[in-house]
Symmetry: none
Subunit: 203 residues, 4 copies
């Protein structure tokens, strides 16, 4: 009996994910979600207190999967920093091709974040965390002599921005470029610019 409940919840989430990604949060009605999930509105509100709750659940799931894929994959030691980073970029590349349409909802998260404080906190925090994480690793790369003495925070900001920009464009204009290649080669260029031994002088 409880399993049935869990399965219904899943159906709601899946339907909502799809519709939010396709049409946007505001444009998606509870009725549509219910229709797609194959149940009544009463059932919907039995499992979730509101439409926003579904959105939040989706957001949490997404963030958790992001953490699992990346945080866990961050180079903890042993391996040289730049190589580890490039490895991450390549991993991200796979995420891209796999993510399919599910990445669309990404934009929706950011759009909603500006209106709802709760969503905002949960959306922004991870990105700050990634920046800090990257900054730490870059600092380690500097220490180990792989990078020259760049500003680690700004460089980390550049990395995250790059990722965000690629994702966004990948969502809006998927056929506009081979975004996975753009991502990998961008990171390569960035690291070339940070390599130790470069004169570091400006143009």
């Amino acid at each position: 009996m409880q399993e049935r409940s869990e399965e219904t919840r899943g159906r709601i989430l899946q339907a909502a994910m799809r519709l939010f990604a396709d049409a946007g949060y505001d444009a998606t009605g509870v009725a549509e979600i219910c229709e797609r999930a194959g149940l009544s509105k009463g059932a919907f509100y039995h499992h979730f207190p509101s439409k926003q709750a579904v959105f939040l659940e989706l957001l949490d799931q997404w963030l958790a999967s992001l953490d699992k894929d990346f945080i866990a994959a961050v180079p903890v030691g042993g391996v040289a920093v730049p190589e580890a980073f490039l490895d991450m970029a390549r991993r991200a590349r796979e995420v891209f091709t796999i993510a399919d349409g599910r990445l669309s909802i990404f934009l929706e998260f950011w759009a909603q974040a500006r209106k709802d404080p709760e969503i905002w906190t949960r959306t922004v925090a991870p990105f700050r965390r990634y920046r800090d994480l990257f900054a730490g690793v870059i600092r380690r790369g500097i220490d180990e002599g792989s990078f020259r003495a760049v500003d680690a925070d700004l460089a980390a900001g550049a990395l995250v921005s790059l990722a965000v920009g690629v994702i966004l464009q990948g969502v809006v204009d998927p056929n506009g470029a081979k975004w996975d290649e753009v991502l990998v080669s961008s990171v390569e260029l960035l690291f070339d610019g940070m390599r130790a031994g470069d004169r570091g002088e400006r143009w």
Copy 2:
């Protein structure tokens, strides 16, 4: 009489811009726009056929100003390519600090672009154009010996993605970092990576 009309149109556009930026397109009602602009719904629909028309006008205005600021500023010749690029990055920096809240609507444009084909075309086209423009300039930089032989298209994609990512984060999390500095230093790093004379070997 005609001036009055123009002024009313302006008031509507300004009010809509503000509200779309603050609360989003969907969440903003025509009634709110009218109230903020200080006129009636009848007047609104006298000047614009629909809410979307206002949005489109706003989009066009924004794109036009973007073109004026950047396309016109693209290095046409004489000056060395990298320097010209960095100059553009610095100019963009000013746009940032000036843009104020008006940049928020940027996200709204992208979010709406996925739903409305007309908005999509007008939103995506310029970014493709920027990419092509940048690619051309980069190729010129390679020819003149400033850059090594990188893939110009991918590098241009990296530049645009960087800008998009910075803007987006600047909108959602304005106090999360000094985004204008991130932008400038990112471009610097990217160019360091493309400089001629580097061995170009991978890590």
Copy 3:
């Protein structure tokens, strides 16, 4: 100059007539009338105080033309009553074929009559007048021995009802029957039933 004004009024009336007939009074907007007449709303309200005023003018015109065609044609004397009536029916037949789409507005008049007292008075009065007129003529027919002693008022009511019913069906279902023939033959049958010499006994 005054001629121009008169011509504009005419254009408005004509456009309104057409639109009222096609789409109905309520569904026709002042803007549509103006567009079809090729002028602005300001001009419209310069010539008519309201949309209803146009409708009333149209109604009056129609009633006047009706009077001209029928009241004037009523058998004043000399000729035998039944023949005169049949002559009128034949004349009505021509009106039918000529009236074209302009008859559609007839239904609109009746529909509006139930809501607006002023329209009601002007719409109903003529029909009562026709009934009285017919009743008088029928009485004359009885006096002269053409008809047997039927109830003149009821017979007149039958005549008018017949006409109304035929017109209405002609408007709604023009291809459903040859309504002009139905009208003529109906009147013939009715008069056969009123002819003197019949036994007048019931079935």
Copy 4:
């Protein structure tokens, strides 16, 4: 639970019927219907997809009741045709006096029929059917020797037109005449005109 739903539907239909009859379809707002029915717009749109759906349901109900009263009452055999017809006319008379204000909606049906194809089909079809039905019976009357050899189709058209005209005037000008008597006596006159034994010569 199901009964409650049915009762609510009924309340909506009844309120709509009354308001459509009083003020017309276009002039009646959904809000008014809800207010009169004592429920909210949410409830309204739960039971009906649109205002027009209510109208169609009303139309169907009316047509069904019409069929029940008349089609079923058509003389199937045994009884002489003219008598059967007069019996029908008398039955119609009762319908009149009972129908009360509910007949007003009749006009609304016809007025709307010109605009909406679906309404048109459903409105016109029955009247054509009645005409065919009457024509068949009249033909039977001719065969059995009750009527002389009139054109059955035209005569049937006359009958229906008479009914339509009487109803319409009864709706618009209820106090203008004793419409029930007009109807009965009109049919009598018409049958007098069709009686066998008359010389059939024209005037």
